[in-house]
């Protein structure tokens, strides 16, 4: 066994700091693009920073109990956990984070972890919309997890490895080596799961702005909301980096990472502006009806042909 290198801890904190900023700026830029498409001038690109500072700087906050405190903490742990076990920059000693053998399985646990923590926290908040949102969220994440796990298994069969670093290494040497080109079926499946977990239309049944405004975080305010907002910057970035590593050849420097993350994120944005929101039962049925059979076909094809 390799000895643990302590220098990895400050490196991981640095890459976490970078990804937080990338996430916040991307949030602002995406909302700006949305406003411009709608003919508005839109928010300032640095507005997410101001909102974050304001929420952390509010003077009063009230508690509904222990789980109310722990909910946002668990949620943030889920986001940071996903990011810390995925190599951010391939081939970089500094930004490979804590990628270990079998990290693909570990990351799957972390993706679910935040939702469960939020369920406990929002449940203690006691607002009916929180309970509704959490019920929908758990059902949705469970349904979207099926194509996600199947696509991960497909990738694992293809490269005979559960280590994300090995999988990225196998995709180096040009766009034709990416999983996107060598195994398009699994990539499509992965992107479907990606849409399902990004909380954007048509799968934004959890926050559902016109229906159960705004779902699980209804009771969360000031610092609690600040922690949740921090996670909203980190978690989608971590998921996007994970999918970039598995399907789109990873990144060898921060420029490539930011470009690829932006493009993959835009997939969910563009799908979101084209399709209106599903109802909760539609969304879950859609995953079981179309994504599950596609996943089984993808695995069979992968194991027979590749």
């Amino acid at each position: 066994m390799m000895e643990f290198q302590w220098i990895k801890i400050p490196y991981a904190i640095l890459s976490l700091f970078i990804i937080l900023n990338v996430g916040l700026i991307l949030q602002g830029v995406i909302r700006k693009i949305g406003a411009r498409v709608g003919g508005r001038y839109g928010i300032r690109w640095y507005q997410p920073y101001i909102d974050l500072i304001k929420n952390y700087g509010l003077r009063s906050n009230i508690s509904h109990g222990v789980m109310f405190y722990l909910g946002p903490v668990f949620r943030l742990t889920g986001g940071i956990g996903v990011f810390l076990f995925v190599p951010a920059i391939f081939g970089s000693e500094m930004f490979s984070n804590f990628s270990v053998a079998g990290d693909m399985i570990l990351v799957l646990y972390f993706i679910f972890f935040g939702t469960l923590g939020m369920a406990l926290g929002a449940g203690q908040g006691g607002h009916p919309y929180s309970a509704l949102g959490v019920g929908r969220g758990l059902a949705q994440v469970t349904a979207a997890e099926i194509p996600m796990v199947l696509s991960f298994i497909g990738v694992a069969i293809q490269y005979q490895s559960l280590n994300i670093t090995t999988i990225v290494a196998a995709q180096q040497g040009g766009i034709m080596n990416w999983t996107m080109m060598t195994n398009p079926l699994v990539t499509v499946l992965g992107l479907i799961a990606f849409l399902g977990t990004m909380m954007r239309s048509p799968f934004d049944i959890v926050l559902a702005p016109q229906e159960i405004p705004i779902g699980p975080p209804t009771e969360f305010h000031s610092t609690f909301l600040g922690v949740l907002q921090t996670n909203r910057a980190i978690f989608p970035m971590a998921k996007t980096v994970l999918f970039m590593n598995l399907f789109f050849g990873g990144a060898t420097n921060w420029g490539v990472l930011i470009l690829k993350v932006f493009l993959i994120y835009m997939v969910s944005v563009i799908v979101g502006v084209v399709f209106p929101r599903f109802r909760a039962d539609h969304s879950i049925r859609w995953f079981y009806k179309y994504a599950l059979p596609l996943g089984i076909i993808a695995i069979i094809v992968t194991s027979l042909l590749l």
């Binding site: 508005r40 839109g42 500072i53 304001k54 009063s60 405004p213």
Partner: protein, 214 residues
Amino acid sequence: MSEYDNKKRMVTGPDGKQFEVDPMQDYFCGEVPKVHKASAVKIWEKFLNWARSESLWILGFGTGCGAIEMRPLMTPRFDAYRFGIQWRPTPRQANVFMISGYMSVKTLKRVIRSYEQMQGPKFVVGLGSCTVNGGMYWDSYNTINRLDHYLPVDVYITGCMPRPEALLAGFEELKKRIRAGKAEGQNEYAENFEWYKANQKKIIKQWDMPDYNW
């Protein structure tokens, strides 16, 4: 809500067990509001005040006819988002309470409850002449006349109705007040709590809620 709903009573649960329910204790918190002092470090408080002024989250609760003048602010023509103004669906996350026009006695009760659930520093903007002196409803039997007898108001925007441009100007005024550190409505409310409560109780006859319900 009937009188009975707030009474302490024994209830049989779906599993057949009996337990006691006291709605006034279980669902609300009766603690009176406290004064939250500004940070002692001046430059830090200034920085926070700047952030507060540039990130105004409005409670999306149209209390009167003036709410119709707030909708155009979201459209491409006026676009309040570029000034850091956004709408939030829950009082917990909002900082600015827009009292949009006439305030009926029935709405006042909901407004007080929503205001007390907001986390501070919080600001109140009175929209339209009705909030200043009752406007065209000054002798109506079911509206209040002066809003600042019941809630600490930061900025009034007069007019019947004020145009969206006037609203944007009003928000700029509110921002100036916040940056100058003058928008301490939450603390004023806590310091003069008895006076505000007495005024509110004079208007709301059926007071079936705790005195302070955050």
